[in-house]
Amino acid sequence: MKSLMAYLAGLLFGLGLAISGMTDPARVLGFLDVLGDWDPTLMFVLGGAVVTNFIGYRLVWRRSHPLLAARFQLPTRQDLDARLLSGAALFGIGWGLSGYCPGPALASLIGLSVPLAAMLVAMVVGWFVARAVAADD
């Protein structure tokens, strides 16, 4: 049952990415290219998602626990550390080079091409590298 709920969440997420056009790197890069022919689509996607989820979270958190789990698992850290900032900076460079962040890159699997496969393989390698870096500290 948990897996079915997670599948439905993933399906909704994938539908949202496809309908919004975030599975098109040109749309994403068009938004990031503020000096060019600016494409505001991504702002509407993120805005729509954040506002919807802001309201949704407040409604959900009125309950004492999730439907199928003992508790809500939320990040608790509040500090701004070097790892958060440097990680976000590196991610932004990769995002700006490719127009892919992890969700759209994975959701684009049905249009798999050699460059997209390279992106996905390198991204997974990057996750392993990050884990090794974290384990070093």
């Binding site: 969440a9 919004s20 098109d24 993120l46 954040v50 989820n53 789990a69 992106m119 590298v129």
Partner: protein, 152 residues
């Protein structure tokens, strides 16, 4: 409103509903790099099945849009298309992919975890991360597309 923006807004609302749904049912944050990165690098016992199911759903969303047909997608300049072309070749994607993986790994999140979920939680860490990756992404595109300043 321009059609692309309507698509963006509708898709964005669906993404928000997905994040709310995952919180309502499993109590988890819908961060792609966290859900799938943890699945692949750690395969946590008893905490992996839902991650795999989410990933399968994520991939089948665009597939469903293709099967439904019509012009539900929003690929720039190609009505009817659902998935756009990569912006570069293998070498560029290897570099970009590595940066995205390492960056989201050590920065604890991506556009979904920090953006969609963190902003909705009013998290200062996520707001800061989102501003930082937006800034470096915009600067990167500036350097790639307009290396001599605003003239191009």
């Amino acid at each position: 409103m321009e059609s692309s923006l309507v698509h963006g807004l509708v898709g964005g609302v669906l993404i928000g509903l997905s994040a709310t749904w995952l919180m309502a049912t499993l109590g988890r944050v819908a961060g792609i790099s966290g859900i799938i990165g943890t699945l692949l690098t750690e395969r946590p016992r008893g905490d992996s099945a839902w991650r795999l199911a989410f990933a399968l759903g994520l991939v089948s969303g665009p597939l469903l849009v293709v099967l439904l047909g019509g012009e539900l997608g929003n690929v720039a300049g190609r009505a009817g298309a659902v998935v756009g072309e990569p912006a570069g070749g293998v070498a560029l994607m290897l570099v970009a992919g590595l940066l995205v993986g390492v960056g989201t790994g050590i920065g604890s999140g991506c556009t979904s975890g920090h953006g969609v979920c963190g902003l909705a939680r009013l998290s200062m860490r996520s707001l800061t991360a989102t501003l930082v990756f937006l800034l470096t992404a915009i600067l990167t595109v500036m350097v790639v597309r307009h290396p001599w300043g605003g003239g191009a």
